[in-house]
Amino acid sequence: MKGGKIQLGHGSGGRMMNELIHNLFKRHFANPELDPLDDGAILPDPGGRLAFATDSFVVDPLFFPGGNIGDLAVNGTVNDLCMCGSRPLWLSAGFIIEEGMEYDDLEIIVGSMAGAAAAAGIRIVTGDTKVVEHGQADRLFINTSGIGVIDHDFTLGSRHLEPGDRLILSGTIGDHGIAVLSRRSHLGFSTPLLSDTAGLQELAALLLQSCGGALHAMRDPTRGGVAALCNEFARSAGVEIRLEETALPVRPEVAAACELLGLDSLYIANEGKLVAAVAAGAAEKALKALQSHPLGRKASIIGEVKKGEAGLVAMRTALGGWRVVDMPAGELLPRIC
């Protein structure tokens, strides 16, 4: 199998598929719930409210500095579960593979998923594999769905944002999007920048511990960046959000790439960051909690929730003027104009 390519037979339920599942997926993901390889996994009662999330991953390129689609697939759903205030427990993984995909690449990706799962303390307990004809998928699509348990009585969500809440960002923005862009030919440039893909379960736990009910919401700024996140918060809660440009942590490499390509770091995807809305009185405590963790060293209070105009996100610029931070229109486009 090594050095070979995935064929249609690997998805058609027969011996080839069985070998693939045993030698690749089961070998890397091995755990008691998965190992019987039944149609579904039987899970114990986790003893609390459940959170359930799903995400599909279609990233191009599959491999980028700092990770691959496998890391994103695990961390993405882990993070969605964390943002709900739950402790992630179990994931499913569905693979749609384009025939002709290199087996070795698939193995690296599956290995990464196993690594990310172990780091997040979760198990991949069930899955599915399909192989489609050449041209019907861009090498590999992955869907993960996940279940987490809520160990506390608080309810988090964007509807719970209140005027006076502070918005706290856990670290530097734009790292993932720029790392991925650096691999796109014809826009490409060299950078030591790595994707920030990471599981946020420890940061989320620190916030719950330090804030309790003062933590009103958490969200991770993936596609559309911090701008999309804040607009979603503002719209959902019917509040105005004001940001401080000087408080935004941005790595110099990201700033340089944005300047070169005419991009705005507020709109660029992140895969290992969160924004928390915390009641004003608990903000400093929450900030310190985040900063105490390696993933949160650059955490910063970036803004405030106001009563104002519902759905409006405005930012005070470094010069002291104001600009509106609109919902991104769609795909991130580099500019020369």
Binding site: S185, H186, L187, L261, G262, D264, G308, E309, L312, A314, M315, R316, T317, A318, L319, G320, G321, W322, R323, V324, D326, M327, A329, G330, E331, L333, P334, R335, I336, C337
Partner: protein, 365 residues
Amino acid sequence: MNLSPFRDPAIAARLLEEIRAAQSRPLVIMETCGGQTHALLRLGLDQLLPRGLELVHGPGCPVCVTPVALIDQAIALAGRPEVILATFGDMMRVPGSASTLFDARSAGGDVRMVYSALDALELAQSNPEREVVFFAIGFETTAPGSAQAAMQARSANTGNFSLLSAHVLVPPAVRFLLNSPENRVQGYLAAGHACAVLGWEPYENLAAEFHVPIVVTGFEAVDLLRGILRVVQLLEANEARVENAYERVVRWEGNPRARAGMEQVFRICDREWRGIGLIPASGLTLQPEYAAWDAQEKFGPPAAAQTAAGVCISGLVLQGLKKPTACPAFGRECTPAHPLGAPMVSGEGACAAYYTYQRMPEGRE
């Protein structure tokens, strides 16, 4: 080299004070370059300038002024199976008469975003069985790059590469605006990067003939404020001349090497400016010696443009004759998410600029 002073908030604050102190009456200034519009808004500078200083956003926005016929032609070419249409990201969302390059891509067209004309040439060289067409938009800032790609294609004999030239020239557009009897603009910020190529010599006649101050201005906060300050001071002193406030990049004679390439590859032609109409001698098209790399020679001239009979008043807006808010569709049928015309498409277009600015409630602390 430490360039941070050009972004320094303390220097910016001082310049704003000087502008306030210098200005004694309402003044109307135009920044000609869409990039300057974008920077002013991104920095929040438009809010910090004194109320009596009206900034009119000029037509220096290739996204806004590229003729519909050429956009339609780019879309049509993208639909041909043998063609790879290479374009800057800016043009992806701009509506032609019926659709956009994004739509062309969704319909199966091979549309690729590039950062440089040379990237487009490289696409041609690595895909010898395909025809690569580079949608060459932009002003004098960008045209030398297109010229270089054409010269390279010629010397390397890369036959499967061509340019669809939509290049436009700034000084004829400024002359056109100055000639308009309804023009209210009193002073101009000239486009700093276009001037890096052209120099500011072309503006001296305009300043003298129309008795207006023109200041070559850059794009950082301090650059913009220095340019604005000089225009205000010149207006207050009733002096009409050209000055350079972007000294570290722009020289009086510009960049002769860049211009030589442009002159070798392109010749001046009349150009339709979207929404405005024909401005004579304001565009660039390929020289006869470069016919083999001219997409219009290879694939034929564009189909006649459908004039959008519609609500869009972009032409009046681009000339600074009407504000976007005067348009009946503004903020209603026409928004950045659903633009009816080009100035609503990109962040540097006047209508998109107004749309975001208008949403700012009064009385910020």
